[in-house]
Symmetry: C2
Subunit: 308 residues, 2 copies
Amino acid sequence: MRFELTILGCNSAIPAYDRNPTAQVLNIQENLFLIDCGEGTQIQMSKFHIKRGKINQIFISHLHGDHVLGLVGLLNSYALGGRTTPIDLFGPKDLEEFVTTSMRLMQNHSTFPLHFHEVDTEHNQLVFENNLITVHSIPLKHRIPTTGYLFKEKAYPLNIRPEKITEHQIHYSHIKAIKAGADYNDNGRIIPNAELTLPAMPTRSYAYCSDTMYKEDIIPIIKGVDLLYHETTFLHEELELAIRTQHSTARQAAQIAQQAKVGKLITGHYSSRYEDLEVVRVEASQVFSNTVIGKEGEVYSVAFKQKN
Amino acid sequence: MRFELTILGCNSAIPAYDRNPTAQVLNIQENLFLIDCGEGTQIQMSKFHIKRGKINQIFISHLHGDHVLGLVGLLNSYALGGRTTPIDLFGPKDLEEFVTTSMRLMQNHSTFPLHFHEVDTEHNQLVFENNLITVHSIPLKHRIPTTGYLFKEKAYPLNIRPEKITEHQIHYSHIKAIKAGADYNDNGRIIPNAELTLPAMPTRSYAYCSDTMYKEDIIPIIKGVDLLYHETTFLHEELELAIRTQHSTARQAAQIAQQAKVGKLITGHYSSRYEDLEVVRVEASQVFSNTVIGKEGEVYSVAFKQKN
């Protein structure tokens, strides 16, 4: 059961060194979620064999071009391909005007329903859920209204102990209720659920935080996530520039990761001044050792945690 | 003195086989002109070493996404790079609303003046000129208002015959007038210009025709150009589809090239159904032999014609 993130673009505003602007695809059990959609995203999808037809939800963090300028092209391509499945589009207030104005002027006729969902960039709220996951917004601090997104699997059913089912001769029609936590009534004798089951698989989670300046308020929201993507536009020697442009340094991202006790930190949104990204890894790792450099085409999987 | 076209994107609407949507750069004596700007154009510019800072004029044919969705990203990058030189932007009526709406919603602050020039897509008119060239619109027929562009060098000065200048002891202060066609007055005796000069270098020209269905009206406008780019979205076996979507077939483009007696035809805007483009070349060449397949990164130069 997959839980894996593919980076499609990892550079900041100006594309450089063959690095594209921001876009990511999160695959949770074959449900694909697109997170941000910089220019060239659909081309990157082809390059990295992403099945874009399986994306039904798109989450946009903010309206800066390097996070959104690939969106209209992708929607056009869906329409040209005759897509009929609806798309849910999540993002800050102006996203709808941006998309609808472009599509109106291009006189493109959509073949599928496009549902806009305005995300409140000031509060941590539930923005989407289906049978597998919930997605909450993460209020970030950038030059324009910006939100991160927290993806969390819903609780798995408890694991049945087959030998106990056999021992008590429990009919299979009761299994679903037992997996959901019910005790079993064996002709008046209650067999507690704890005797019949083992703990469920732990749920997995991913937090996407870009673009943002250092913001400790997000720590309680992203506490303990398995995977944290936090932008690292600059090295800490450029702290003043990071503050002025409301971005983060690699050291700051690592401080957030450490305080939130996340499993792994993925860096990204690199300034074009850094051709070799090893400097980013070194700086972040000094604060938070389980840091990996986010690179285009790389896939970051979350395995189920080992039980203690 | 260069006159060369670089193809940055040659595919039609949906990017495929690593082929990008339409964009071209025309270099006339180190003046760079961008023609259309599909998604990913700025990335293609880096890949093919185009000095984008030298582009001061951008010509857009129509508002379909595959011709325009890279424009806002490029303008953003200019602003982020601190550009101060103005940009002149030419295109159909809605181009200004498309660009200004996107830039307003992104809250990007431009660092350079951006001048919009609305092009009448119904008439063949002068839309731009500088000391080197003129650019005229070419009315095309597509699903939305669309214009092509005809780039022509202005006349070169006549070539001086140095031996005649020596013979008549003509002071250098008269040379400019003679190069422009003036006779020389040698103390009352008129020496005709024809004795003092040789013909000027012939001017060179390029016509860009995309997107359009077969339209014979353009033939007088593009008559005798050195280089013609004419879209070839489909093979002729898809004529019905070409008519319905208001595109051209390879055979039709070649018929236009032949009737207009152009020097060379460059094909492009290929449907994603054609992975191998040799079929396009074969079909067009049967009608017009000097056909070359437009491919990304290829440079098509126009040399000065041999004098007869």
